[in-house]
């Protein structure tokens, strides 16, 4: 790279989406995500893509679902209140297996809450916000550069697994301006949804293929298939046959849960010799890294597990990292939404939550103090 570029997390997300091949954006303005819409409004028409501002977030989800159904890579960006409105149609995208990306730049709730301040309180909304049994992929980046790469990965995973993917960016990262370390000539690896070779041959839109992900043919390309949010058979038509329903609902979860090796991503820092582990994600993981540096300097053996993929939760991998540790601490800007997951897989290791829900960041000093208290 020639010059040092300083850009904002939200802009890195928009650039990542474009690099991934997104050519359709529909959205409704909401702080702290609006810069993504503004960037797409300016850029997409110039490259022949489509930008549309819809009447609300429900409509925005509807529009990207429609665009995805006709074969486009589509996404929207919002924050907590808008994400709540999107939940019904998020489930529609899950059961109809339409790839798309929903960016939630998290602010503190409930309700209008703290519109301009950071939070990580939509983590469980991303997991269980839509009704019904389902699996979901959610990713939470911790820097501007990582936001770019993880946005590309979000699109790739959406396409690969024919599923919606949620990108959970906390306001701090969304609005952070920092060095953007992506070489000008960087060419990302792009995944496009799998299709069929012969479109005229009998197409089975929800075929039980060995990889659990059926091939896709866009609507309006000569194959008259049917998409419905009702439970459906392999041909896509409504079925209430218990065997058919059971098989399809289990497959929807399995195609994600059985591929954790591919989907889950985390980083570890000094975990091997550590007595105490920090588990963190998003902007808080940077604070945790800083606390770790200070504690290590004092000779206290602390390690860090930095989660990048939040859902599906990397149960086994995390359980292994935790095994034999004296204690684990989960600092996060909510009342313990990932803490409860870590505690669930800790198998007897003591896990402590460190919560902050006042719109302020958790400081390294707070983590240092808490570690010392726990030890």
């Amino acid at each position: 790279m020639s010059k040092v570029k300083l850009i904002q997390g939200n802009v890195a997300c928009a650039l990542g989406a474009l690099a991934a091949g997104a050519d359709f954006y529909a959205g409704y303005p909401i702080t702290p995500s609006t810069e993504i819409a503004e960037f797409m409004a300016s850029r997409l028409p110039k490259i022949g893509g489509h930008f549309i501002q819809m009447e609300d977030e429900i409509a925005s989800m509807g529009a990207i679902i429609g665009a995805s159904a006709v074969g486009h890579k589509a996404f929207t960006a919002t924050s907590g209140p808008g994400f709540s409105l999107m939940q019904e149609l998020l489930g529609y995208a899950v059961i109809t297996e339409l790839p798309l990306v929903v960016v939630d730049v998290m602010r503190a709730g409930p309700s209008t809450g703290l519109p301009t301040l950071p939070s990580q309180s939509d983590v469980q909304q991303a997991r269980w916000g839509t009704h019904g049994d389902h699996a979901i992929i959610a990713i939470s980046p911790a820097s501007v550069t990582e936001t770019y790469f993880e946005t590309i990965r979000a699109f790739n995973l959406a396409e690969k697994y024919r599923t919606p993917v949620v990108l959970l960016i906390d306001e701090k990262i969304g609005h952070l301006r920092e060095r953007f370390d992506v070489p000008d000539d960087f060419v990302p690896k792009i995944i496009n949804r799998k299709t069929v070779v012969d479109k005229k041959a009998q197409y089975v839109p929800y075929e039980n293929t060995a990889d659990l992900v059926p091939p896709f043919v866009p609507l309006g390309q000569g194959v008259h298939w049917h998409i419905t949010g009702l439970t459906h058979d392999e041909k896509g038509f409504y079925s209430s046959n218990p065997q058919v329903v059971d098989k399809s609902i289990r497959r929807l979860s399995a195609k994600i849960e059985d591929n954790k090796k591919d989907i889950c991503k985390l980083e570890t820092v000094f975990t091997e010799d550590a007595d105490i582990l920090l588990v963190a994600y998003g902007s808080v993981s940077r604070t945790a890294q800083e606390a770790l540096n200070q504690l290590r300097a004092e000779g206290i053996k602390v390690g860090l597990v930095r989660l990048i993929t939040l859902w599906p939760f990397a149960d086994e991998e995390i359980a292994k990292l935790l095994a034999g540790k004296k204690a684990v601490m989960v600092p996060e800007m909510n009342l313990g939404q990932i803490f409860k997951e870590v505690d669930r897989v800790a198998r007897g290791v003591k896990v402590f939550a460190q919560s902050r829900v006042d719109g302020d960041l958790i400081t390294p000093a707070e983590i240092v103090a808490k570690v010392k208290e726990v030890l």
């Binding site: 529909a26 009447e55 429609g66 149609l89």
Partner: protein, 274 residues
């Protein structure tokens, strides 16, 4: 006629609709309108919301999408924006379009994307068993209006006109030939078109309102409707309580995906757009 049905219907009929339901009449009229228009089924996407009427997409031999309650127009907007080459038709029930989907409806009218919207108005929530909708006439009974509805109802034609739709018509399931013509005309029209179809639900509406026999509702529709041409020479008194059917409005207005394409073309020539 058989050949028309064979061409446009999937082979999964019988359908779920009750005997005497107007939905089948609308579906038949749509097939005949398609035959008139000669659209390529491969280039046509048909969408619907949720309700008895919205099950129509399961039976039509096109690329079809049965969406969520009230959201069909939002999804259709994405389809048409992303692939303007496609013909897009959307079927909705009265609750679907005017209650839960009311916001999407007025904004779809306003944008004027080239979408043909068909609202099958049976005055009731059919699928959930007969609750009143925003189109249930004042005083009519429903399971959630056991003493008669005290809600004022929308006039879909006026709503669509006010919101900016560029083609607005109303047909009914008694005058089927007219309905076929209106559906074809709406399809032909460039821009957002609405065809409201006054329909019959003997089971959830008729039974609550002393018109349980399918023929009762059809006769009532025959009696209540007056063609827009005849209506022009009628006094306001004569028109009271009448349902005016026919083409109500048509205007040549800029179509949204074309306006967008113009902006894109301008930008790609190096301009700054409009």
């Amino acid at each position: 006629m058989e050949a028309v049905y064979e061409k446009y219907f999937r082979d999964n009929i019988p359908h779920i609709w009750c005997a005497g339901c107007g939905n089948g009449i609308v579906m038949g009229a749509f097939a005949r309108a398609m035959e008139k228009l000669g659209w390529d089924q491969d280039d046509t996407v048909v969408l619907s919301g949720i309700g008895c009427s919205s099950r129509i997409t399961g039976y039509l031999d096109f690329s079809t999408m049965h969406t969520a309650h009230g959201r069909a127009l939002a999804v259709a907007t994405g389809v048409k924006m992303a692939e303007p080459r496609l013909k897009v038709v959307v079927f909705m029930g009265d609750g679907d379009a005017a209650a839960i989907g009311g916001n999407h409806f007025i904004h779809a009218c306003r944008r004027n994307l080239d979408i043909t919207a068909v609202v099958i108005n049976n005055y009731i929530y059919g699928m959930t068993g007969g609750q009143f909708s925003p189109l249930t006439p004042f005083g009519k009974k429903a399971t959630t209006a056991p003493y008669g509805s005290i809600d004022r109802s929308f006039d879909m034609v006026e709503l669509a006109k006010g919101a900016g739709a560029s083609y607005v018509a109303r047909g009914d399931v008694f005058h089927v030939k007219q309905l076929v013509d209106l559906l074809a005309e709406a399809g032909e029209h460039k821009g957002f078109s609405l065809v409201e179809v006054i329909s019959a639900c003997p089971v959830s509406y008729g039974r609550n309102n002393k018109m349980a026999e399918p023929i009762d509702l059809l006769m009532q529709i025959k009696k209540d409707t007056v063609n827009i041409k005849a209506a022009q020479n009628m006094s306001e008194e004569d028109l009271a309580g009448k349902i005016v059917v026919g083409r109500h409005y048509q205007a040549d207005l800029p179509e949204y995906s074309e306006v967008y394409a113009d902006m894109v073309a301008g930008l790609q020539k190096g301009g700054e757009g409009r």
